[in-house]
Subunit: 340 residues, 2 copies
């Protein structure tokens, strides 16, 4: 039976912490039956969050979602600390008892919770922990399937690499290309329904996890858009970035940057170099294992008006000699043309 | 009570898989009372393995070790797959019952083994799992203690970075400098008694683990020799290498290379670039977060005769313009002078 999702946001649908729900609505290919949110109940999702695009109904409780035919309850909000609250627990137990699977990317592993796992066993439903890594991960074999891999890399964390990757995939499919988005983080996995959160695997196996994802992606489409993580110049996460780059072995990269940023957000004082230097850095680092070029610049222009956004994009193109755009704002077609 | 070690090698003391026992004998500061190895019993350790240097007795069983005053049984051999055998289990239980701590870097976590952990609780001894990561690891804080950090980096895995690091530390202490070896892998931890196996932590926390080690090292000495892992050009482990480099924030690097190697051992076809290019690569990668220079070349000349070794070292020095030596073969003084 195909997934029919109800997105549970615990009263926080209007908040930015519900980014998983917003992302699933904007980008997810799976059917979304409704949002479950007692505070926004009665409205349509896209009326509350225009970015979400889909006008699905917001209902007050799990019973309403079940009545609409939902068969999977997705936790669509990332609470601070990532743990499960008592209020949410009650909703999850209600969904389980009603025969729904539950999907989550929390730090709390649902399947390790005795109450939830016993309830799920009784009801014959699945608890889907998106962050759990496959138990048999290892290093890359060295073989790479014959697919085209486009990988988003960036100047910092949390600048929209996932959204750029999803926009590229959407633009490719809109042009009739067979493509797939390859998720490497929990929100991407929640959106697309498969993937590995590479930042939560043992460090020896990051490249192996990326290689595994490319193998799995090759069974889905000949054109893969591999979501990037972190940045090579990020003092905490650079190792994840490099392992993912070397394991994913891209054919082309798209460099993501937030317009105007000059230092790493989490580590003030650590500079972000100019775009041409970043391009050279990523090309060199890829080349240590397998050569790849940066084919385009994706600029996050949030906070700028349209004129300022277009000027920033033109400046990035001029500075690097590469096609540039903000695909979340203006669509992914320009960047897509540069990478396929 | 100070550790008085018995090194258990399960009949394999003469084999290269007993490298943890050999390394502890050659480099470890802790007292070694004896080796426990039924096959080599009756001989002296350095008669079987000259590299091991110390002429400690090899005894047949745990009871003999206990009679010599040993209070810690160290598993000194890395079996293929890293699991515990039934024969070894009997020896460990005998040691525990005799009141000895047991120390190991196996994949099998001793403390999670019901039989061993119950026996240890009864006997009031500790099971020391060297591979276990601290439970509260996180990302680096961004602060760095005021110490000098010298970090070994390399062209590949398993080329002797740990030995080079230990030789540098030994040469520094021989010169009367206050220094400490900072272990980042299980064998180094077994040798020195502390450290974190950074290749076994969650990938998001590699840099945080390295930063934690520098903080801990700063409490031990003002000059730290930080053991490297992997290589920036290694298709499987490059992420570990970069995370360690950025978290460790070295002041100087020593580039380790095996004379004559031109491709990654585990991934034939992945080239090792010439030494000057490797020097530039590591300096650039360090500089993404904090600038550091490669100050010297450590060449592994095993398999060459003395004349060929000296010629290879001279060629490496000529090629890079840096001091070069094989510190395991000729001592660490030359390289030490370049990094302090």
């Amino acid at each position: 039976m195909a997934d029919r999702l109800a997105l549970f946001t615990g009263g926080g649908f209007a908040d930015s912490h519900a980014k998983t729900a917003h992302g699933i609505l904007r980008y997810g290919p799976r059917e979304v039956v409704c949002v479950v949110d007692a505070i926004q109940a009665g409205r349509a999702a896209s009326d509350v969050i225009p970015y979400a695009r889909r006008p699905v109904p917001i209902v007050a409780g799990v019973a309403d979602a079940r009545a609409l035919g939902a068969n999977v309850l997705v936790i669509g909000v990332a609470p601070f600390g990532g743990a499960l609250t008592d209020e949410w627990r009650a909703a999850l137990l209600e969904a389980i008892a009603a025969g729904m699977d539950v999907e989550a990317g929390l730090h709390t592993v649902l399947a390790e919770d005795p109450e939830l796992s016993q309830a799920a066993a009784r009801a014959g439903v699945r608890l889907r922990d998106l962050r759990a890594a496959p138990p048999d991960l290892s290093v890359p074999t060295g073989d790479r399937p014959d697919v085209r891999v486009v990988h988003t890399v960036g100047s910092d964390c949390a600048i929209g690499k996932m959204s750029v990757t999803l926009e590229l995939d959407a633009a490719a499919r809109a042009r009739g290309l067979e493509s797939a988005f390859v998720a490497t983080g929990q929100t991407g996995i929640a959106i697309t329904g498969w993937g590995i959160a590479v930042d939560h695997v043992i460090s020896d196996f990051v490249a192996g996890a990326a290689a595994r994802l490319i193998e799995e992606g090759a069974g889905r489409a000949p054109l893969l858009f591999l979501e990037g993580q972190g940045a090579l110049g990020h003092p905490a996460y650079s190792g994840v970035t490099l392992g993912l780059l070397h394991g994913g072995q891209p054919d082309a990269m798209v460099l993501c940057h937030r317009a105007g940023s000059t230092e790493i957000d989490d580590y003030p004082g650590t500079p972000i170099p100019p775009l041409p230097e970043l391009v050279a850095t990523y090309e060199r680092a890829a080349g240590w294992v397998r050569p790849a070029r940066v084919a385009a610049i994706a600029l996050n222009t949030r906070g700028l008006d349209d004129d300022a956004a277009r000027a920033a994009i033109a400046a990035a193109a001029e500075e690097t000699g590469l096609p540039a755009d903000d695909p979340v704002r203006f669509g992914g077609e320009t960047l897509l043309a540069a990478v396929v």
